[in-house]
Amino acid sequence: MASPVLRAIVGTAPTVAPVSTASPLYASPAMGLSVRYPAGWTYVPLAQAPVYYGVSFYPPGADPSEPSAAITFNLNTTSRYDASNATPPLTTRPQPFTVGSIIGRNYESAALPIPTENYSIELPFRGGTLLITATEGPDVNYVPQLRAMLPTLVPTP
C-alpha cells in the first residue's frame, strides 16, 4: 500500500509508573508467561479461542468496557512466527526486537487508526507468536510504560 493520507500520531506519554520485583504479578500458565505491572493498574483476560489467549492491562481510571488505551499480551499458538512474514498493511518496516533471550521484531502503525493506534512486538513463542502491543496514539502513548514492564516478563517456552 502507498503512504497513508492520515499518518499515525504518537500521543502524550504519561509519567511511567515504576515496575519492580515488588510490583503486582500477573502469571498465566495458559499463556506461559508472567509479567509484573504497575501498582494500581488492572488487567482483564481477553476472550479465548482454542489457539488464542490474551490479557490487557489498563491504567487506573480506565474503563476496559470502552475502547481505552491499554497494554496487551496475545498468544496465538498456531500462527508460527516468521521474521520474513509481511507485517500488516499501513505499519512501519519491522525492526529486530529482543526480550530476554527471545529475538523478534517490532513495528508501529504508520496510518492513523481510530480510536487507537498500536506499537507492536512479535516474538516466537510456544510454536506460535506472542504479540505484545501498547497503545501509542493518537491521544496517549503507553510504549514507555510497556518498556518498563518488559524486563519483568518471564516466558516459559
Partner: protein, 621 residues
C-alpha cells in the same frame, strides 16, 4: 449561507430519493439539546458484537471497530437508496466489512485506519463505490461540504477526536467515528455506532451546528489531531463539484490541519495488473470425507509449475479450518509447510492437530502452492472435508468422592505410622516416602483447582501434634485424580501454624516462624505467606512475602539470630532466605560464579556489623 441552511427543508440524505420510513423517534436523553432525532434510512449498526471472533491473531469484540460499523451503516444506507446494488442484510454487511478490515489489521486491540476504507472500498462494493479521505474541510466550509454530500444522497463518516464532545457525552475521551445522516434546521443528525454499555441498540442523535462544529473541530487533548476529517463514500466515477467557501458560519475557529496530514485525497496508487505465473496443484491425501482418530494428520499434494518456463515450486502450505476459529471466509490455521521433495512433485508433511487445538468434529483442509518467484495459488484443488474423531476419554471420578482413610492406607508412597484414636476426619498418621519430613496426622482435606486445568486437586495438611482437625500443621500433600485413582502430585514443607486457602486458583499458604528459644504458641519469627500453583508435578511459588513480627516481639528476638530483621534479602546474584536456625543461613545461588556469590553474601553480613565467621551458610542452586 446560514440563512439558506435555516430555510432548507429537511435534508437528511435519503428523503429526497426514497420514501422515508418514519421510524419511532427516540429521544437522545444525553443530548445537550434534548433533541428528538430525525428519521433516516441509514440503518443503525452497533459496533459491539458477541461472541467475539478470532481474527487469526487476536479476538475481536468490536470494541475498537467504530470505523467498521460506520462504513457498514453508510453502505447499507446507500444500498437502500439504490446507490449500491442490494446484496446484503445489515448483519451480513457488518460482518463482511469487519472481516475485510480485520483481515488487514488482525490485531483487534488496534483501531482501524480510514486509509483502509479507501483501499478496501472497491473490493467491498464490487467496484461500485470509492472512498476518499477529506482533509480539505475547515471550520469555514464544513457545513456546505456536508450538505453537498447529503443532498447527493451520501451519508458521511466523520472522525471525532473526543467522543465526550458528542451529544451522548460518552465517558472518557476516546477518538471515534460516526456517520452524519442529515441536516435539519440548525441540527446535525448522525448515527453513532457505540453500543458498548450505555445504550443498546445504538441510537440516532442530533447536535446543533455550533456544538457539532466544536466537536468535529476539536484537535484532541494533546492538540495533535487533525480536525474536520471525513471519509466520503461516493459512486465510482461520480464527481461532486468543489464546494465554494461559504460565508463563515457560527462555529469555532479551527487552526490549520495538523502537520501530520499529507494533503492529498488519493490514498493508494492504482496497480496495473500484469500476467503472473500461477502454480498448479492436485490433492493426494487425505481422502475427501475420511475420518481420522489420532491427532497425526499426513497431508500430501502434487504441486507444479503450470507452464513451461514458470518458476519452480518453493513450498506448499497446508491449511486447516474448523468452526471454532471463526468464519470459513476468515483466516485458516497453518497445519504444516512442505518443502520440495528430493524427486517428483508430491509435497508432503505431517501436522499434529492436537497441538493446534483442533476439537473433535468436522474440519476442512486445503493447500496453497508458492513458487520461487513469490507467486502463489491459493487452494488450487479446492478443499477437502475430514472428520476428527479421537477416542473419547473416560471421565475421571471426582476426587471429592474418595475414601481418604482407604486411599492413604493403600498408597505405596506413604508409610502409615498408626491409627489415631481420635475423631478427626482421616484418622491416620503418615510419612511421605518422597520426603520423610512431610509427615504427621492428616488434617481436614479440602479441594480446589490449583493447576488451572479445570480439574480439582485435594490438599491434605499434615502434622497436627494433637487430635485436632486443624492447626499445628507443618507440611502438606497434594493429590490429583488419575485413571489409576488418586495419586500424590506434590508435597510441601512449610512451617508451624499452617493456614491454607485456595484463592483464585492458587494455594495460599500462611505459616508462622518459630525462632530458637521460642515457646509454644509464641513464635517471634513473623509470618511467611506464599501463593503456589501446581505445575509440572510441583508446587511453584508465584509470590512470597515475609511479614515481620511486631516491634514488641522483635525485642525478644534472641541474640543468636542477629540478621533476623534483615531477612529475606535478594540481589540479582543470590537470595538469602529466612532461616529458623539462628546463625545458619540458606543462600539460593542465581549465577554460575559461586565465588562472586560468597563474596557478596559475606559483604552483606558485614554491612550489618556481623562477623561472617559467626554464621554457617548453606549455598544451594
Amino acid at each position: 449561507m446560514r440563512t439558506k441552511l435555516l430555510s432548507r427543508p429537511v435534508a437528511w440524505c435519503m428523503a429526497v430519493l426514497v420514501s422515508a420510513t418514519f421510524l419511532p423517534q427516540p429521544t437522545a436523553s444525553a443530548s445537550p439539546q434534548g433533541a428528538t432525532l430525525a428519521p433516516s434510512t441509514v440503518p443503525l449498526i452497533g459496533q459491539i458484537f458477541s461472541p467475539a471472533e478470532y481474527t487469526g491473531k487476536t479476538m475481536d469484540s468490536g470494541l475498537y471497530d467504530c470505523l467498521v460499523a460506520s462504513v457498514a451503516m453508510d453502505l447499507q444506507g446507500l444500498q437502500q437508496e439504490g446507490l449500491l446494488t442490494p446484496t446484503m442484510s445489515d448483519a451480513d454487511r457488518y460482518s463482511a466489512v469487519r472481516h475485510a478490515f480485520r483481515s488487514q489489521t488482525p490485531d483487534a486491540s488496534s483501531g482501524l485506519s480510514a486509509d483502509l476504507a479507501v483501499a478496501l472500498m472497491p473490493q467491498l462494493t464490487a467496484n461500485e463505490l470509492v472512498a476518499a479521505i477529506r482533509t480539505d474541510i475547515t471550520a469555514d466550509n464544513w457545513l456546505p461540504v456536508l450538505q453537498q454530500q447529503l443532498d447527493a444522497g451520501y451519508p458521511v463518516p466523520v472522525n471525532i477526536n473526543d467522543w465526550h464532545k458528542l451529544a451522548a457525552g460518552w465517558g472518557g475521551s476516546h477518538p471515534h467515528t460516526i456517520v452524519v445522516t442529515g441536516l435539519q434546521g440548525d441540527q446535525v443528525l448522525y448515527n453513532d455506532p457505540w453500543n458498548g454499555k450505555a445504550v443498546a441498540p445504538p441510537q440516532r442523535w442530533s447536535m446543533s451546528d455550533a456544538d457539532f462544529a466544536a466537536a468535529w473541530g476539536y484537535r484532541g487533548a494533546n492538540g495533535l489531531m487533525a480536525p474536520f476529517i471525513a471519509t466520503t463514500i461516493n459512486r465510482a466515477g461520480a464527481s461532486l463539484p468543489p464546494v465554494a467557501l461559504a460565508t463563515p458560519v457560527a462555529a469555532p475557529a479551527s487552526p490549520t490541519p495538523a502537520a501530520t496530514i499529507i494533503p492529498t485525497a488519493t490514498a493508494f496508487a492504482t496497480v496495473t495488473p500484469k500476467p503472473v505465473a500461477k502454480p498448479g496443484g492436485l490433492w493426494v491425501g487425505p481422502a475427501d470425507g475420511s475420518t481420522i482418530t489420532q491427532p497425526a494428520l499426513h497431508l500430501a499434494a502434487h504441486a507444479y509449475p503450470t507452464n513451461a518456463g514458470d518458476p519452480p515450486i518453493d513450498h506448499v502450505n497446508f491449511t486447516l479450518w474448523w468452526p471454532q476459529i471463526g468464519l470459513k471466509t476468515g483466516p485458516w490455521a497453518l497445519a504444516c509447510t512442505a518443502k520440495p521433495p528430493p524427486s517428483g512433485d508430491v509435497f508432503a508433511c505431517d501436522a499434529d492437530i492436537g497441538k493446534l487445538g483442533v476439537p473433535a468434529g468436522q474440519l476442512a483442509v486445503s493447500f496453497d502452492a508458492y513458487d520461487a518467484a513469490g507467486n502463489k495459488h491459493l487452494a488450487p484443488n479446492g478443499e477437502r472435508s475430514i472428520s476428527y474423531a479421537p477416542p473419547t476419554p473416560t471421565p475421571l471420578p471426582s476426587i471429592r468422592a474418595v475414601d481418604w482413610n482407604k486411599v492413604l492406607r493403600d498408597d505405596p508412597d506413604l508409610i502409615i505410622t498408626g491409627p489415631v484414636p481420635c475423631p478427626v476426619p482421616v484418622p491416620v498418621s503418615v510419612i511421605y516416602r518422597g520426603d520423610p519430613q512431610v509427615e504427621g496426622l492428616v488434617g481436614t482435606v479440602f479441594y480446589g483447582d490449583i493447576a488451572g486445568d479445570g480439574g480439582e486437586e485435594a490438599i491434605l495438611p499434615l502434622g497436627s501434634a494433637v487430635c485436632s482437625p486443624s492447626g499445628g500443621d507443618w507440611s502438606l500433600l497434594v493429590y490429583r485424580m488419575t485413571p489409576a485413582g488418586p495419586r500424590i502430585a506434590a508435597s510441601l514443607r512449610t512451617g508451624l501454624g499452617l493456614d491454607l486457602k485456595i484463592l483464585g486458583g492458587r494455594l495460599n499458604v500462611t505459616y508462622q516462624i518459630w525462632l530458637p528459644g521460642d515457646t509454644n504458641f509464641a513464635p517471634t519469627g513473623g509470618t511467611q505467606k506464599a501463593d503456589y500453583q501446581l505445575k509440572d508435578g510441583r508446587l511453584v511459588a508465584l509470590s512470597s512475602q515475609h511479614v515481620p513480627p511486631s516491634a514488641s516481639i522483635m525485642q525478644r528476638v534472641p541474640e543468636s539470630f542477629p540478621l533476623y530483621q534483615y531477612l529475606p534479602y535478594a540481589t540479582s546474584d543470590f537470595e538469602v532466605t529466612s532461616s529458623e536456625q539462628g546463625k545458619r543461613l540458606q543462600v539460593k545461588v542465581k549465577i554460575a560464579d559461586i565465588n562472586k556469590v560468597k563474596a557478596g553474601v559475606e559483604a552483606w553480613i558485614r554491612s550489618h556489623s556481623v562477623d561472617p565467621s559467626t554464621h554457617t551458610v548453606d549455598y544451594v542452586r
